[in-house]
């Protein structure tokens, strides 16, 4: 199969390339030039072609939560959003703590022939924070890293041992930094808005207390830790210092957290109930700046499809999370414009940077690289409409609002898996 993407503005964040050209694909890989006649030509005049997006946090809800979303619906959403690779956190039911579950998920995902799925295994059995999982077995079954999703490891000794064990085999560990005791019962940032609305707060220091512990354990064990969903200005400052000290840590931020703040809760808008919570405008600005200066490596969708009934509840009782796979690109573009970055610099946060964290060969347009591509019109406006979203989760703070950036086609391993 030979595919030629013709007349595009080719943007490759890995090399910094940004210019008109063609992209030639033979047998699932990018080649320097097309040998002979292509089987298919995609006319990309006026469109950007870039490496397909790599999302380090997208919940597919299988197994266990099929009433919220299915693999089919969410894989459709992924490619409609230009996401060609995604890592899924282990907070399924049961959690991804056994090789058989991981194997089944990978087979199901592969059979759908859409985005590439990289399962993240549970760090502890049932995510309970007590007993380590069989990490080596899970890695053999295809887990690329180990995580607790949003569940804590309350016992610091278990956390220490888990990092030691993972470091022994060189497995990356992806963790959120949130002290479970300080966050207990909280549903919103402990600040002006939570005070006014009478919502139980999660202080910003719930993040920094846990982050300081985690960084010390990284120092002690040498484990490769990726910090997930940073949420506070103080957290960004701590991480900046740690990276300056040369600790082997990387970091991501949820795409909603660089745009929204506690103010967006308005009158108890349950769509803005997220984990971690939306914090102050100052925190949001620090996250956006940290992402721009490289303290934070990547943006993730933190895609969490939630059924309507679970959001039609009083704020504190509503299930946290927002749908995100189809909004990752437009929201990343919006951040890049505000940060005054080039398109290549912006896209790096959703392509080459997460590829580095994941340790994969994709996320770049170069001969030999996997032909995972997205074609999009960065200016094309659209209104976020629940009916138009392919994800089964219609839960978004952006419903009814206008964003720019529409995906026209998505290519995975040289196959056109989405086009409009």
């Amino acid at each position: 199969m030979k595919l030629l993407v013709k007349g595009a503005r080719v943007v490759d964040p890995a090399s910094g390339r940004d210019g008109l050209g063609d992209v030639a694909v033979v047998d699932g890989r990018i080649v320097a030039s097309m040998p002979g006649k292509p089987d298919r030509v995609l006319d990309a005049k006026g469109l950007v072609v870039a490496p397909g997006l790599i999302d380090l946090a997208a919940r597919l809800r299988e197994p266990g939560y099929e009433y919220k979303a299915t693999l089919e619906s969410e894989m459709d959403a992924a490619v409609a959003g230009g996401v060609t690779s995604l890592a899924c956190p282990p907070d399924t039911d049961p959690p991804l703590d056994e090789p058989g579950l991981v194997d089944m998920l990978r087979r199901r995902a592969k059979a759908l022939e859409r985005a590439r799925v990289y399962p993240v295994g549970a760090l502890t059995v049932k995510l309970e924070g007590r007993q380590l999982t069989e990490m080596a077995e899970l890695a053999e079954a295809g887990c690329v890293a180990f995580s607790q999703a949003n569940a804590p490891v309350a016992d610091t000794e278990v956390l220490w041992r888990a990092l030691q064990y993972a470091a022994t085999f060189g497995f990356p560990v992806w963790l959120r930094a949130e002290d479970p005791w300080l966050a207990k019962g909280g549903v919103a940032h402990d600040g002006d808005v939570a005070t006014r609305l009478g919502l139980a707060g999660i202080p910003a220091f719930a993040e920094t207390v846990a982050l300081a512990t985690l960084l010390e354990l990284v120092r002690a064990t040498g484990a490769r830790v990726h910090v997930c969903r940073l949420s506070s200005a103080a957290g960004v400052a701590l991480l900046r210092r740690a990276r300056h000290d040369g600790l082997p840590v990387t970091c991501d931020v949820g795409v909603h957290h660089v745009h929204l703040s506690e103010m967006d809760l308005g009158f108890f808008d349950a769509q803005c109930r997220l984990q971690p919570p939306l914090r102050s405008a100052r925190d949001r600005d620090a996250l956006a700046a940290g992402l721009a200066d490289g303290t934070i490596d990547c943006i993730v969708s933190d895609h969490t499809p939630v059924d309507e009934d679970a959001k039609l509840l009083p704020f504190a009782e509503a299930e946290p999370g927002a749908t995100g796979l189809e909004l990752l690109l437009p929201l990343a573009l919006k951040w890049g414009v505000q940060a005054k970055l080039t398109l290549a610099q912006t896209l790096a946060r959703v392509t080459s940077a997460p590829a580095r964290v994941l340790g994969v060969d994709s996320g770049r347009i170069a001969p030999g690289a996997p032909a995972d591509l997205v074609m999009f019109d960065p200016q094309a406006p659209f209104r976020v409409d629940a009916r138009a979203l392919r994800s089964q989760g219609k839960n978004s703070p952006y419903l009814g609002l206008e964003l720019a950036g529409r995906v026209r086609a998505t290519v995975v391993a040289g196959n056109v898996v989405y086009e409009t």
């Binding site: 600040g191 002006d192 006014r196 609305l197 009478g198 707060g201 009158f267 509840l313 009083p314």
Partner: protein, 317 residues
């Protein structure tokens, strides 16, 4: 942010969800209307026909005797039919959702829902899903708001102090968990009270207290000095020992209102409490029953205030 959901397009009261966001003129209108009803409650025949034929559903997802009773009395004095539902013990126990409960009652031709719920913001959710002719009155939601209590507190202060413009009001105790405090603070700042103080240990003052427009004190000696109004908050039993406070006794020693501490306030200061009181914890009997106390008149005013609110949301058509 969306338009204030409790006002209709012409700025009139559609629901009462919170005192926050209500304009000064509207607050004064509610207090004036309440004053006109105060006479009714003293007559032999304590009824006016303003809500005749209307149905008021008292929807209490959280237990309450006093608030529910005063709403019931107020509705009956307006000639409305009152239906009391103790939802905590019925449908929600069977797993019915808040909105399903409301939809079912709506099908029984309700005009006003008086809603108390343990979760902050629940009445907003109800207000978003009722029909245009139905009205929601918040009777207390989580830690967020208790607007009719706030209004009756404002009514009481105006009754005794006549004017809001020169007052120092001290609110004492568990501000963190108090919907009463939040509603009163919004009312006082809207009506131009120059000095609103909150007094309590750091553990019971919320993180964003200053953002509400109050001055924070941790010492009764400083906070009560020359206060015109002292509002004592109820300390819930479950907060009396644990990580927030070591014991009721120690709280009483530092933050309980005694005659001695009250002497720091102005000689004509009034003492208020939303009830029910913990005598010997946040307030001593000598103060609760003493000459400065207006705690029982607060209850009486509460009926007139609730009549005013119900007649203003539903009495027009």
């Amino acid at each position: 942010m969306p338009r204030n959901p409790q006002l209709n397009a012409s700025g009139e009261l559609q629901h009462l969800l919170s005192i926050e966001g209500l304009p000064r003129e509207l607050l004064i209108k509610i207090l004036d209307t309440a004053e006109s009803f105060a006479g009714v409650t003293e007559r032999d025949i304590k009824k006016v026909p303003l809500l005749r034929g209307k149905s008021v559903f008292n929807l209490f997802f959280e237990g309450s005797t006093r608030t529910r009773t005063t709403f019931e009395i107020a509705a009956k004095r307006l000639s409305a039919d009152v239906i009391n539902l103790n939802v905590a013990a019925s449908s929600t126990a069977k797993g019915e959702s808040l909105l399903d409960t409301v939809a079912n009652l709506s099908a029984m031709q309700a005009d006003i829902f008086v809603v108390r719920h343990g979760s902050s913001g629940a009445p907003y959710l109800v207000a978003q899903h009722v029909k245009p002719h139905e009205h929601v009155i918040n009777a207390g939601d989580g830690r967020h708001a208790h607007p009719t209590q706030g209004l009756l507190d404002l009514y009481t202060i105006r009754h005794y102090k006549k004017d809001f413009s020169g007052l120092a009001v001290a609110i004492v105790g568990d501000v963190l968990h108090s919907r009463v405090a939040r509603s009163l603070i919004h009312g006082l700042t809207t009506l131009g009270v120059p000095e609103v103080r909150v007094i309590g240990p750091q553990t019971l003052i919320p993180a964003g207290a200053q953002g509400l427009g109050v001055r924070v004190y941790h010492s009764m000696r400083e906070g009560l000095k020359d206060a015109d109004v002292v509002v004592m908050l109820r300390l819930q039993n479950e907060r009396m020992s644990g990580a927030l406070l070591p014991s009721a006794q120690e709280f009483n020693k530092h933050y309980g209102l005694t005659a001695e501490k009250l002497a720091l306030a102005r000689p004509d200061a009034i003492v208020m409490h939303p009830g029910p009181m913990n005598r010997g914890v946040e307030i001593d009997s000598s103060v609760a029953d003493g000459p400065h106390s207006v705690i029982l008149p607060q209850v009486t005013f509460g009926i007139a205030v609730r009549m005013a609110v119900m007649s203003m949301v539903a009495g027009g058509g």
